[in-house]
């Protein structure tokens, strides 16, 4: 059995900024445990020195000329925002008052 406890699920959900109910915590702990147990086979799959592949096709970094190109206007950029003011995205307080 893997180490995916309800407390760990709660912690991971917190890191991922997802609020979870107690019911979700226990269901996800059970389901993710099973998934982790089954994907853990990768640990034994590789013997010896094998390089990691992050990207399927070898590619070089891409550059372009440093010139201004058309982009979204401020109004367009804000058009899908849940809240905005004075040409900026408006959000709730970053820090707790306490």
């Amino acid at each position: 059995m893997s180490e995916i406890t309800p407390d760990l699920v709660r912690h991971l959900a917190g890191l991922a900024r997802i609020q979870v109910t107690d019911e979700e915590v226990s269901r996800f702990a059970e389901q993710i445990s099973l998934i982790v147990d089954s994907v853990a086979t990768v640990k034994a799959a590789v013997q010896g020195d094998v390089p990691a592949t992050s990207h399927p096709i070898p590619m070089a970094n891409v550059f372009r000329e440093d010139v201004v190109e058309p982009s979204l206007s401020q109004q367009q950029a804000l058009s899908g925002a849940p809240d905005s003011a004075d040409g900026r995205f408006r959000v709730h307080a970053i820090l707790d008052e306490e």
Binding site: I4, L8, V9, L12, A13, G14, L15, A16, R17, I18, Q19, V20, E24, F28, Q31, I32, L34, I35, V36, S38, V39, A40, T41, V42, K43, A45, V46, V50, P51, A52, T53, S54, H55, P56, I57, M59, N61, V62, R64, L72, Q76, A77, S79, G80, A81, P82, D83, F89, V91, H92, A93, I94, L95, D96, E97
Partner: protein, 505 residues
Amino acid sequence: MSDLVFKPAHQLVELLRSGEITSVELTQAFLDRINKLNPAVNAYLHVSAESALATAADVDRRRAAGEKLPALAGLPIAVKDNLTTTDAPTTSGSKILEGWVPQYDSTVVAKLRAEMMPILGKTNLDEFAMGSSTEYSAFGPTGNPWALERIPGGSGGGSAAAVAGFLAPIAIGSDTGGSIRYPASMTGTVGIKPTYGAVSRYGLIALASSLDQIGPVSRNVVDSALLQDVIQGHDPHDSTSLPNDLGSMVEAAKKGSIKGLRVGVIKQLQGEGFQPGVLARFNESIELLKAAGAEIVEVDCPSFEYAIAAYYLILPAEASSNLAKFDSVRFGLRVTPEGNPTIERVMAATREAGFGPEVKRRIILGTYALSSGYYDAYYGSAQKVRTLIQRDFAKAFEAADVLVSPTAPTTAFKIGEKNEDPIAMYLNDVATIPANLAGIPGISLPIGTADEDGLPVGIQFLAPAMQDSRLYHVGAALESALEAKWGKTMMDFAPSLEALASEVK
């Protein structure tokens, strides 16, 4: 109802070009059928009748004036709802993006517009393309046009069902682990995942950036070839876009004889776990390829055993990072808890309300796989498995020009059968995932129905990176051998969707 909707796309293109039919007439025929049958199928989340007809009218006017038009001008198309469109909402099947209308077109959609193709609407998918049944869509499941109580595959079940149900002549899908090929197999249609980077991902809502690829969905091989020729090509807006010219897929599809082509049967993707009716059709197709002059060899890909495991670490890891952008600030949903909450609490409440269970599971799993202390054991090992799978392919392609397997272990299962069992769901993609991990192209095409349930079976061909043309060549050859044997096309085996839809009512 107009018979036009049942004609293959390449024939419709000829009828449009010769002026025998107008694009308005054709587009209206599809809109009428969508209007009538989409409530039973739920292939479309949004129908763009007005803008589709406007494009069609423009094409007709220009054609009447004698203007030279693009090859597919006037041919309607459906687009998976994870590609941005400025004139239609783009939800990616998620509540968190419900009603969002993007401010820019994805490159593929821009290319469809430049080709003057009327866009009929946006098709259903598993939320953020996470799933293989389309049941994880926040807007309800899609029915399989062969049997509406069954899944059409996923994540692109909407595009596959639209094409299989004659609700579109052709469609756009995206494939991260099989999301084009698996639905093609479930619905008796053709689906292609091009080489990674062959089609621009700009404006595709990212699931796993090192795996995602956009590709065509159709009812026959040459129709997909027509579409890939339109959507492929380098795009400076996508840093992973290939600069290479892959050539014409239509020419490849028309190449004909496969005499001497070496076809490698993948040892690991047959036998145990595969439904008898799937294997029976598969073996018949191998015999047809042999009769057509192909040389059949067996290839050994031992690392495929670890492909699903590696995939379900790499995908959630990349997805957990990609989906961080849904933070209630710049677009989409915002849920504000009571009191005077901080932005962190607003984000957490928004993501709780906006994401469905599979998305949450995968984000949490990905966050775990990337945590310090676990990173090397899980994500690091998975990336090494990726290398091993690439080496298996490299070796197999020394012995064979294309590789072959069934696309999926079984035919379409019933809606609700697996959706609380993630691991059973993940096994559906056992044959399609290795191609995404290695970045190589793959096609699924229909090869008949299984004896035990009468449902479609698909075969998958894989080719080396940038050799997409080989898939169209061998695919078209097998398709014509099968049609010669049957004396009809695959879709002629399908039941009438009108009849199925009226039973549901």
